[in-house]
């Protein structure tokens, strides 16, 4: 209860942008969780002719197959946000753990890990993911794993760089001299202290996953149909934009709004943790 009240107080004190951001995230999460209850139709149900205009029955009209656009957007929240979240979490767990590990261990471990990451980063990531997706197939799981692993290289660099600042702190020496295991040091001593830059990066990376998926679906390697995902929806309807038809702007806006919302919250979080006070 205390925590709830604390959170509520924090929320009240948050700047307007952060409130907007939180509101956006809450709405998205709500929509994602309760998609089947909110959506008026089935995810892939064909409800009418294609490209019907906005109406009371079809709030945002219908898509190229005559599926309800609003329904697709709602389900898209679930799929896109879900996949992006899992992928980003994977990227951060992998990159974070190895990055901190390298910083703590130093020496050969760090050298080898950094070299591996350098090599992975030197290969154009779109090509690399294309290769891997073709080898392992384009199931959602391999999509998540591949994007997650390739993205983790960037997280690794960040985690390592920020951890290097923490590793020199006396309390790390204290833990080492106590004889603590590396894993304990990583999780209990370092991780909580590099969360700020990691979270900031999370905000951006999270949104980049949408884009990666949508780029991949541009090359025919995205999420399996008929699953609704925003990146794929933009792709499917993108050429309409040349004919002054703004249908693709709907899923694009869904992504953009979430990006902005997440980053508003991230900015707020950073401001709180870094102690950097903007001039009021």
């Amino acid at each position: 209860m205390n925590k709830m009240r604390f959170a509520w107080n924090e929320f009240n004190k948050a700047p307007l942008t952060a409130k907007i951001g939180l509101l956006i995230i809450v709405v998205y999460v709500f929509v994602a969780i309760f998609a089947p209850l909110i959506a008026p139709f089935g995810e892939s149900e064909i409800v009418g002719r294609k490209y019907l205009p906005w109406s009371n029955e079809f709030l945002l009209g219908t898509d190229n197959l005559g599926r309800d656009m609003f329904t697709r957007i709602v389900y898209g929240a679930r799929n896109t946000v879900g996949i992006a979240l899992i992928t980003t979490l994977l990227a951060f767990s992998l990159g974070g753990i190895f990055g901190i590990f390298a910083a703590v261990m130093g020496g050969w471990t760090e050298l080898v890990l950094s070299r591996v990451v350098d090599i992975l980063m030197a290969i154009p990531s779109l090509i690399f993911s294309m290769l891997l997706l073709t080898i392992f197939g384009t199931s959602v799981i391999s999509l998540i794993l591949i994007i997650g692993v390739l993205d983790s290289t960037r997280v690794y660099r960040l985690a390592r760089a920020t951890s290097l600042n923490i590793v020199v702190m006396d309390y790390i020496d204290v833990a080492r001299l106590r004889g603590e295991k590396i894993g304990w040091i990583i999780i209990n001593e370092i991780l909580p202290n590099i969360s700020a830059p990691l979270v900031a990066e999370f905000g951006i990376r999270f949104c980049f996953v949408f884009l990666t998926i949508s780029s991949l679906s541009f090359l025919g390697l995205g999420i399996q149909p008929p699953t609704a995902d925003w990146g794929g929806m933009v792709r499917d309807t993108a050429d309409l934009i040349t004919f002054d038809d703004y249908t693709p702007l709907i899923p694009a806006a869904a992504i953009a709004i979430l990006t902005i919302g997440v980053n508003f919250v991230v900015d707020w979080f950073l401001q709180k943790t870094s102690g950097l006070k903007d001039e009021l």
């Binding site: 002719r49 190229n64 090359l219 025919g220 399996q224 040349t242 004919f243």
Partner: protein, 530 residues
């Protein structure tokens, strides 16, 4: 009034929609002739003009393209070969075969021996006279053991290639084939210059245009051949063929005037494009068709009732409307197009009938069916959407189709002919025999349904040797029925070739439908008005 004329007049009086018109026209078996007819109102008066530079953008083409005719597959190269290289025969806009580089051709004692007489004085672009040796060397390359040519299986039917003087070639076949001259109209069988029986230069042909520049995956530049053997053909001075893979980019290029003609216009946006007053959209019913081949030797697809249930569970009209926006016509589960000579006009059109589908399932001892359908948009644009639509439609028959999108990469090797049910697409063949032989004959490597029907295979061989048209027609009619009612493919759509061009481009009154771009011969046949 002929039925066609009646329909046309109703169309002009706006009594029928264009789509209805096409539908009815296709039922009448005249769609192949339609595009020309449709255009006649604005094109008939126009007289071809000489001069100008024609810029064409197409979707196909890759940075790995090669000019070696035994190594090529891309539409860009096919287009280029029809523009710069002359084949012995050509398919005319009305679908008939006509001699081209050959002055004439005839069969010998039966259809297993063919005599081709070359056009007198025809020259390659480099001034060399075309001889029988060049023809033999050019065809020979495709039939050797080490050949990797697409045409290999046809060319290996040849048991001897002989010349009779400098301008006559005698070809002997293993088995009689009435349609053999049509095969020789294939783009890659363009005749190339040779020395000592070896072809040396792929860039030199004898077509209406000469190759100036070739950048794989990007563009080809050609200029008019002043010594072309049909002096009246070839209107524009020069032309440029561009590969623009992205459909939006192609349309933008046309709208902004960067190119004059584009092909592969997405059906979904063709009508939007046509709203632009300066742009004309040309719909040509061709032989290109989309199929869902099932491997007929795998359970449960080995049961014809299951196949019938699947064939009855697709609402072709809805697919035509939603995927092609009406730019095409529904298929009747066989690959023969109304453009073809022996299109069976007596076959009833198969329609969406979930109840009947259920009945078939029951006959197969099933109450419902769960099946995976492997698709890729690389086969044709809209394939994935079609599968999604199909799966929704099939729910009514108690069939659960799971669309399985697979990578474009390696599709033809790992999915096609491997997965029990997938998507496929055929650009069509100018003859019934060619089409059936490649895709449905038991012996074919590309028998995409692994279908083995004894009666069908007997008829196929017999029809090849049959010299009398009415008998051949009956045979092909029966074969179409067999494929339709027993075969393993859902042939649901014939897609139009949708071409768009700006108003400055002159179009002949009749446009071929065997390939897009007027059978890939538009550089030779079309012109610019100013």
């Amino acid at each position: 009034m002929k039925p066609t004329d009646k329909l046309l007049s109703r169309l002009n009086n706006a009594e029928v929609s264009r789509r209805d018109f096409l539908k009815k026209a296709s039922a009448l078996g005249i769609a192949g002739a339609l595009p020309g007819a449709l255009l006649s109102t604005n094109a008939v008066a126009a007289k071809p003009k000489r001069g100008g530079h024609l810029r064409i953008a197409l979707a196909g083409g890759s940075t790995g393209d090669s000019l070696d005719p035994t190594r090529l597959t891309s539409p860009h190269i096919n287009f280029l070969y029809y523009t710069t290289h002359a084949q012995l025969t050509e398919v005319l806009p009305n679908g008939e075969l006509s001699p081209y580089l050959a002055e004439s051709y005839e069969y010998g004692k039966d259809a297993s021996e063919w005599i081709f007489k070359l056009r007198k004085g025809a020259e390659f672009h480099n001034g060399k006279t075309i001889t029988a040796d060049d023809v033999i060397a050019s065809l020979d390359r495709h039939r050797g053991e080490d050949s990797a040519s697409q045409m290999k299986s046809f060319m290996q039917e040849i048991i001897s290639l002989k010349k009779d003087g400098d301008s006559t070639v005698i070809i002997k076949l293993q088995n009689p084939n009435v349609d053999f001259p049509t095969i020789l109209s294939a783009p890659t069988l363009g005749i190339l210059p040779s020395t000592n029986g070896k072809v040396e230069d792929f860039t030199v042909g004898s077509g209406a245009y000469m190759l100036e520049k070739f950048e794989p995956g990007q563009r080809s530049l050609v200029k008019r051949n002043p010594n072309f053997f049909f002096p009246d053909r070839g209107y524009v001075d020069s032309a440029e063929i561009l590969t623009i893979a992205d459909s939006t980019a192609r349309q933008n290029a046309l709208v902004t005037g960067a190119v004059d003609v584009i092909g592969d216009v997405p059906a979904a946006t063709a009508d939007l494009l046509a709203r632009n007053a300066k742009i004309k959209v040309l719909d040509v019913t061709g032989m290109m068709h989309d199929t869902f081949p099932m491997l007929t030797n795998q359970a449960p697809l080995d049961n014809n009732h299951v196949r019938m249930a699947l064939k009855l569970s697709i609402d072709r009209e809805e697919v035509l409307e939603k995927i092609l926006s009406g730019h095409g016509m529904v298929g009747n589960d066989h690959p023969i197009s109304p453009v073809n000579r022996f299109f069976n006009t007596e076959l009833e059109q198969r329609v969406y009938d979930p109840e009947k589908a259920k009945w078939h399932l029951k006959q197969a001892g099933l109450s419902k069916l769960k099946i995976k359908l492997s698709v890729s948009d690389s086969v044709y644009a809209g394939a994935v959407d079609t599968a999604v639509l199909y799966s929704e439609q099939a729910k009514k028959s108690g069939i659960e189709i799971t669309p399985n999108r697979v990578p474009a990469d390696g599709y033809w090797k790992d999915v096609w002919l491997k997965h029990p049910w997938c998507v496929s697409n055929w650009s069509g063949r100018p003859t019934e025999d060619w089409m059936f032989t490649q895709a449905y004959a038991a012996t074919s490597n590309w028998n995409e349904t692994l279908w083995k029907n004894d009666r069908f295979n007997e008829l196929l061989v017999a029809a090849r040797a049959e010299l009398e048209d009415s008998k051949r027609r009956d045979m092909y009619y029966e074969m179409q029925r067999l494929v339709r009612d027993d075969g393993g493919s859902v042939v649901h759509l014939f897609a139009n070739h949708i071409t768009a061009y700006n108003e400055n481009v002159g179009v002949p009154s009749k446009v071929a439908g065997n390939w897009e771009f007027d059978g890939f011969k538009m550089v030779e046949r079309w012109w610019l008005n100013s």
